[in-house]
């Protein structure tokens, strides 16, 4: 009873061996595709688009902060309700701050992590032909698209886009009277509600696929850490998103039906929103960072040509973070007026959750230790991730300590922290992941030279932009200020704000290199072999890009994914799919793929 046993439950599974082999039409193949690889690319394109949108918003925000009151270059193009004569209005500033956070978190980082890498890698790395529910997968993408465009459209409705922050604290968000934004806030709620369905559909797919469709021999502790992290992340999505959905509905009825869940005038509780939002929101933080940790672990091991240090500890750390992530939400609310005794409880749990993150950092260092490190571009991005994540993790200790948080809560220290984990962390891992799996997606390599230029410039400008924000926070500069020069003591810091703004402009300009490299390499890139990084996991056993159905026949897995420099192999890697008895060199090229 080995591989044949899979046949007994095959009625709901797509064929491993490619299934039907008729050539689908263009629309079926590229638009309404059920192929996980195409869906991954669709998610990639749309979320990169929203990444650009979020980035442009950031540039405009930084313009206003660096040069308050000066007309935005090119700002004449914006309607007078946003920036008359190019001068950004406070309501438009609040809308930009809200939408920058919303787009980046929900429409860029989250789909890049979960939508792109989840879709691309889960079937390929576990040796499956596709997802368990390919049509549900397609639905997941086609729910995310309208959600994104509803969000985008909200800029152009009467009153403009939501302006209550991405956290939408009630009562500010619950009654348009307070912000002057009615429809915009409602569209914000509706858009996220739709996106929630998309995320849950994806997560159901991922969990089912990982549990049920692993290739023979691929036991739990032979899974790449990317898969582990996506598996745990999917559970977080499944359990956290519905909480947000419930909260969104209540806020929407407060806005439209006259209920008062969060409005004290009718007996409602503003803090209830915060509890619901952060009960969702803190697991969401880990949804955004866990896959990054998995990806980085894989790439560091590949670059160092060395097994991941402490694989089991890494898996346990992911699981520990996911569990503890449910009991720390109150640390976002130390100043909210909730019972101070709760503050102490949440502080302790928050302190404890720092431990698994520390374990991961030390294990990454351990992975590099005594390696034979090949500085390919994905490794550089991953090293960038580790070095910036250390800063983001350590700055978290300051705000976890409740008394210190009294001072730095809602200041730029927090802004620095979130950008260290989400940009320095998640986005660097995304750059690493896209670069690493680009050949598997498109069959060509990105230009390594330009990737390295991009990495160095991004790392420098990133640090120039975000590191000084810690200092601004320590000087007492609050978040979400339209014009910090209103405060005399902040006006003195204006040179720093200008320095940060210029760094952000340079940082944004640098990203053009990556997008150009990404686009041009589609046609000009060097053709990729099946296994260009000489890596171990199953996706490298099939051609780049893999055919519909991925595997000609079910791969068999003989070992873990990190057998680099194994004494049993003559080369410095030993793929999971190479049978062990073969004492000759393992072949970097895949198992016979017919033609």
């Amino acid at each position: 009873m080995s591989a044949t046993a899979a046949a007994k439950t095959d009625w709901d599974q797509p064929g491993f061996a490619g299934g039907e082999h008729h050539e689908p039409s263009f629309i079926r193949k590229y638009i309404f595709s059920t192929d996980h690889k195409i869906i991954a690319i669709q998610f990639l394109v749309t979320s990169l688009f929203f990444l650009i949108v979020g980035g442009l918003l950031a540039v405009m925000i930084r313009w206003q902060l660096g040069f308050p009151g000066a007309p935005l270059p090119g700002g004449d193009l914006l309607p007078d309700t946003m920036a008359p004569g190019g001068i950004i209005l406070p309501e438009f500033y609040n809308a930009m701050v809200t939408m920058h956070g919303t787009f980046m978190i929900f429409f860029a980082i989250m789909p890049l992590m979960v939508g792109v890498f989840g879709n691309l890698l889960i079937p390929l790395q576990i040796g499956a032909g596709d997802m368990a529910f390919p049509k549900l997968n397609m639905l997941s993408f086609w729910l995310a698209v309208p959600a994104g465009f509803i969000m985008l459209a909200s800029f152009f409705v009467e009153g403009g886009a939501a302006g209550a922050g991405w956290t939408a604290y009630a009562p500010l968000s619950a009654d348009g009277e307070y912000t002057g934004v009615y429809l915009g806030q409602q569209l914000w709620l509706v858009s996220l509600f739709i996106l929630g369905f998309s995320s849950i559909a994806g997560a159901v797919n991922y969990v089912t696929t990982i549990i049920n469709m692993r290739a023979p021999g691929l036991t739990w502790f032979r899974l790449p850490l990317t898969i582990w992290s996506l598996f745990i992340t999917s559970f977080l999505v499944l359990l956290a998103i519905p909480i947000l959905a419930g909260a969104l509905i209540m806020l929407l009825t407060d806005q439209t039906l006259g209920t008062t869940f969060f409005l004290p005038a009718g007996g409602g509780e503003p803090l209830l929103w915060q509890h619901l939002f952060w009960f969702f929101g803190h697991p969401e933080v880990y949804i955004l960072i866990l896959p990054a940790m998995g990806i980085v672990s894989d790439i560091l091991s590949n670059g160092a040509r060395k097994p991941v240090f402490g694989y089991h500890a890494m898996v346990l750390a992911i699981i520990a973070i996911a569990f503890l992530g449910w009991i720390v939400w109150g640390h976002h609310m130390f100043m909210s007026g909730m019972n101070p005794m709760l503050g102490t409880t949440f502080m302790i749990t928050t302190m404890v959750i720092a431990v698994p993150s520390a374990i991961k950092v030390f294990n990454w260092l351990g992975t590099l230790w005594r390696g034979n490190i090949e500085f390919h571009a994905p490794l550089l991005y991953s090293v960038g991730f580790v070095s910036l994540f250390i800063v983001g993790g350590l700055s978290g200790i300051f705000m976890a300590s409740t008394p210190v948080d009294i001072y730095i809560h809602d200041t730029y220290f927090i802004v620095a922290h979130i950008h260290y984990v989400l940009f320095g962390g998640s986005l660097f891992a995304i750059f690493a992941g896209i670069t690493f799996w680009y050949p598997k997606m498109f069959g060509r390599m990105m230009s390594s030279f330009w990737n390295k230029i991009h990495f160095v410039l991004t790392f420098i400008f990133y640090s120039m932009a975000f590191f000084p924000m810690h200092g601004l926070g320590l000087e007492g500069m609050m978040r979400r200020l339209y014009d910090p020069t209103q405060y005399a003591y902040l006006a003195e810091l204006q040179p720093w704000n200008q320095f940060i703004s210029i760094s952000v402009f340079l940082l944004a300009a640098t990203q053009v290199i990556y997008f150009a490299n990404f686009t041009l390499s589609l046609w000009k890139g060097e053709k990729a072999t099946a296994n260009p990084w000489r890596a171990n996991s199953l996706e490298w056993s099939v051609p780049s890009p893999p055919p519909h159905g991925n595997f000609e026949r079910i791969p068999i897995v003989y070992r873990g994914p990190y057998e680099y420099s194994s004494p049993e192999s003559d080369e410095d890697f030993y793929p999971q799919f190479v049978p062990p008895r073969q004492k000759t060199a393992p072949r970097p090229e895949p198992q016979p793929t017919a033609d």
Binding site: A6, R214, L238, A240, P242
Partner: protein
């Protein structure tokens, strides 16, 4: 296969997967999500009720408990007929499957119908979600009462209605002979969902109407 055969025993693949077919596993995982959704709604209700007991009228003062008790019984019966439908197809009893599915659909629709009837009466009495209008209606309790009531029972009602839709879909497929004792994933999946919705109602009925 040949490779597997040459592998030493300890290297040979332990069978991955849970031995539960994908659709069933997927439904279970989806239901986890649903649990959290209702947890958010019910949790908010509990918090608001503890914070503002004055907003909530005594059981039976505003809401029609006997009518809903009957409705609850109807929904529980529909779970029984759903079990019967599944049992029928397990024995390849096509006729039984169709009959019991139809019975479940009728009971489920009745439940939704009664709920709509109840809503209409409540709204006419002034039991509306709008806080201002509620206060003006002079009903016992406060606006949090009606808003949490409609939030929880409304979303439950939507779930029942979607379940009825799914059952109709399954019935149509059953009439085309899509199911057999070897192929009953759809029936089992919808059944799981149906029992879940039923279970949620028992919780809701208890905390909204009885306590």
């Amino acid at each position: 296969m040949s490779q597997a055969a040459t592998m030493p025993i300890e290297e040979r693949a332990p069978e991955p997967g849970l031995g539960i077919y994908n659709l069933k596993l997927g439904i279970w995982i989806f239901l986890l999500s649903e649990v959290m959704f209702f947890t958010a709604l019910i949790g908010s209700y509990v918090i608001l009720r503890f914070a503002h007991p004055d907003h909530f009228a005594a059981p039976g003062e505003v809401l029609n408990v006997p009518l809903t008790a009957v409705n609850t019984f109807i929904l529980i019966c529909s779970s029984v007929t759903m079990v019967k439908a599944y049992a029928a197809i397990e024995k390849d009893d096509q006729k039984g499957l169709k009959q019991w599915l139809l019975a479940t659909i009728v009971l489920g629709s009745t439940f939704v119908g009664v709920q709509v009837y109840e809503y209409i009466h409540l709204v006419n009495d002034g039991f509306v979600p709008d806080a201002q209008a509620y206060v003006e209606s002079g009903l016992a309790g406060g606006p949090l009462y009606s808003s949490t009531f409609y939030l929880m029972t409304g979303f439950h009602g939507v779930h029942v209605a979607l379940g009825v839709g799914a059952l109709i879909f399954i019935l149509i497929k059953a009439m085309r002979g899509a199911y057999s004792s070897q192929r009953l994933g759809g029936v089992e999946g919808v059944g799981l969902y149906w029992h879940f919705v039923d279970l949620v109602w028992i919780v809701l009925f208890t905390i909204v109407y009885l306590i």
